[in-house]
């Protein structure tokens, strides 16, 4: 089984059709923080395909230096395709759109998953006509849809947005939220969890939340960032103490408690969708430059019942018709 470390796995199911005789395709997998549900979905999809694929799995463990070494290894191995998980891993492999190509890879097709905003992150300039040797799947719903959930709770009067300004995705999300708020006449206040060293910090996070409470925001919204996930319990306590209705774009933040609801993608489906794109490329069915970067068309409203009870804020019956409750 694939672990969070490194290894080579052979995925091939269609021996009867003589595919075994063909040279197996090698897919170089680059994880940023170990194997996630997204990669589970991807591996499952690839396993069911008729192409014999050897997976070479590497994990950067959220370490940029380690990621550089993985990129060097990929250059030497010359796989048929590279798969990356997350914005950091993808940028580490392909580099910014306008950056030099020396330290990055541009002659091997790269398929990414779980990149929140490839344009704001500087990976591509356009999702359809991107012109790069790269494609992938965006795992987050549009911010406008997130705000609709907050509106449905009747809490969209004054929204505090707490984001990670060290991540390009966070900056892009804030830009989008401000644009939507301007259009719909919502009041939005924005704070970053990044300290003076340009690193996200818990102290800074708590400080921002308290500030929002003082500003009497009607809702706190947390755009997706991996920084909050390990600190979910701490955040949970503080948010409950302050009785602040919190919404999040990250599934784990909702499941572990601080957020009472949010719109999420099925991560398993994100992985499978990335798998489909990989098969299209490896089978020669489509040119990677012509495969658009896409997001799923269906999202799930996730509601945390316990948080709702503790905050004494409840969903509408209409929202419950299409929501998942944890």
């Amino acid at each position: 089984m694939v672990g969070s470390g490194s290894g080579i796995i052979g995925l091939m199911t269609n021996l009867g059709k003589g595919m075994a005789a063909e040279t197996p395709k090698r897919v170089f997998v680059v994880h940023w923080r170990g194997q996630t549900t997204v990669s589970d979905g991807l591996f499952e999809y690839l396993k069911q395909s008729s192409i014999h694929i050897d997976l070479i799995v590497r994990d950067a463990a959220q370490d940029s230096e380690r990621l550089k070494k993985i990129v060097e290894e990929a250059k030497q191995l010359r796989p048929d395709l590279i798969y990356t998980f997350g914005t950091e891993a993808t940028l580490g492999v392909v580099g910014l759109l306008r950056a030099g190509r020396v330290n990055f890879i541009d002659d091997i097709p790269v398929v990414f998953a779980a990149v929140g905003d490839p344009i704001a992150s500087g990976i591509v300039a356009d999702l359809v006509n991107h012109g790069r040797n790269i494609t992938g799947v965006i795992h987050l719903p549009p911010e406008q849809a997130q705000l609709e959930i907050i509106k449905d709770y009747g809490a969209a009067g004054h929204i505090g947005v707490l984001y990670n300004s060290a991540e390009s995705y966070g900056r892009g999300a804030v830009k989008e939220i401000k644009a939507v708020a301007l259009k719909s006449g919502l009041t939005v206040d924005v704070e970053s969890c990044v300290d003076e060293n340009n690193q996200p910090s818990l102290a800074k996070t708590f400080e921002a939340i308290k500030k929002f409470k003082q500003l009497s925001v009607t809702a706190l919204y947390l755009p997706s960032t991996s920084f909050f996930i390990p600190h979910a319990q701490d955040l949970n306590q503080m948010i409950l103490d302050l009785q602040l209705p919190t919404f999040a774009a990250n599934e784990q933040i909702i499941r572990r408690g601080p957020a009472l609801a949010g719109l999420i993608s099925s991560l398993d489906q994100v992985g499978r969708f990335a798998g489909l794109k990989i098969i299209q490329i490896l089978s020669g069915a489509a040119n990677i430059r012509e495969i658009p970067i896409e997001r799923l068309s269906n999202f799930v409203v996730l509601i945390n019942r316990e948080t709702s009870e503790k905050l004494n804020i409840f969903p509408t019956v209409k929202l419950l018709r299409y929501a998942d409750v944890v």
């Binding site: 009747g154 019942r305 409840f314 969903p315 019956v317 409750v325």
Partner: protein
Amino acid sequence: MNKFSQFAPERITRRLLWFIVSIITIAGLSVTLTTAYIQYQALPQIVAKVELTTINKLIQQLTIGVRYGFEISKLREINYLLDEVRRDHEEIGYITLIDKSGKVLALSGNSPSADELKTLQISIDAFDIDLQDKYNFRNFGLSVVAQNDTVGQIYIGQIYVGINDNWILRLVINRFLDVATVLVVVGMISTELLMLLLDFSILAPIRAFSDWRKSTMSTENARIFTQIGFSDLRSILMVVGNIGYRNALSPEASMPWDLVLRYIRFSLFLFIFGDSICISFIPLLSSLIIGPEFGSYRSLLLTTPVAMYTLIFASVQLFAVSILYKFNHKTLLIFSAILSISGYLLSATTNSLAPFLIARSLNGAGLGLAFLTLQTAILSTAPVNKRTTAAATFTSTYFLGTFSGIVIGGIASQEIGYEYTFILAIIPMAVSALFGLIFFGSSREIKNHHQESVTQTRSSALIIKNIKFSSLVGLCAIPNRMFNTALLYYLAPLFLGSVNFTKSEIGRAVSLYGLIMALFAPIAAIYVDKWRKHELSVILGSLICALGALTLVVSPTYGVIGSIVCMGIGQALSVPSQIALVPEIASTEVKLVGLARVMSLFRLGERLPAFLAPLGAQFLIGVFGYSGAINSFSAWLFVSTVLLYFVLKASHARMHRNP
């Protein structure tokens, strides 16, 4: 001999006809009324059973939260969910959710109080609801139970639903009116057919035989007469039948003019009936074809199907004179039907704007041509001293066809959808053409060479210079026609549709105009002719038409119907009188260029600008709303009528000064 000469076949056939029609009408209405009464008794239970599915779905949605572990009383916006159900189900008067302690959790509609609801029985058998007639509703109550994975079944409370008695009544009345309308239209068509049948098999042969007998006996007739003798009834019938058969197949050749008129009238009725079938729903269909993807141009484009139809219809009048002199009536009628049928086939098979506009243009051209052909056929069939009667025949048949088509179109579009209604409309058109093909002879309009010496341009200029003629067109015919087109073809269908009138109700409302015109116009024409009060009739009719919009003050919805009724009464007075006034006020021009050209110019002037009516209506809706748009047209007609009154008065004063 005396006995035979007193024999009046017309009277006998009429009496026979009235007897048959009365029996059919009484029987039809009795069956329809009985059916309506039975429906009124049975419908609430049927409706309630249907609603049971709706309410069970609602209970499922209400209990989702409970299944997840939420307390139902804490969930938000339950009322909105109930409102949503009621919005989609007009028949539900109220829905009230009461918790197990008897407290109202949510309600929608004019619900009885919680204490009153508690007196109602809760239905145990979900398939056989206990419907209770109380508090002005047919009520039923159900238990609300949620299934929780850990706890099992959780009793939440009761939900009470009231079926709206008024809705049931409205449904029954609607159905009754639908059936009654179909009966009336079928009755009218049957009457016409019966009359034709009686003419064909009894009246024409008897008249022919009578003429033959009265005439100086030719050698051949005398020979037959002697040969068969009056005692041989079988032989008489053979002779009679033979004459009748020949007469019926070429009526214009040997039948009296009033019987020939019936053949033309039947064709006209069927053609107009077919053409009017889609009048009431074209604006609604246009709003489906022209979707939001057309952006800011949408509101303008919405008017184009009606505008195109009206424009092409009027444009055909431009070529009236040349077309009528070139082809015979039969050819023109068949060609009109081909154009209209093609239009309907295209309408039935397209969902795109461009083909739909082409289809409407084909229908406009078909109607324009048929209108010209059948009007002139009727007028030229009648003797000169009977032209008023012939014109009244045309007007009443035209509006009976319009009335029948609109109501049947409304019902048909409601029951079978737009596409099949277009296909349905093809049938009367095709029968009309077939009727023309079989029974129309070679009748046509004959050119008068003396009148042709004046060119069309010169004659038009000559006629327009006549101030009274121009005033009649500009201050009466145009505002009347514009108001008529805007209200009946655009504003009324759209407005009534926006306030949830069903398609058949819209059809019935719009068709009131045709019904009133058909009934009232011939009677009004007789008296106006008798008293020679054409000018007064034009002024009075236009004022009634304009002032009808005042009913909008009482109720915008029923005001629209009031406006239609007033328009029917007003235009029944003014429209035939306008036509009668034309030869009177343009007598010099008629002598110079002929009545056909003067009338053609009058019709063209009246109808050509009508295509702007829907565009103007759409603009006015944007500025003032529906009521404001109707008021604007009525105000225009009012002011124009007052101006016309002064123009005519001044003209009379001038005539008195310079006799």
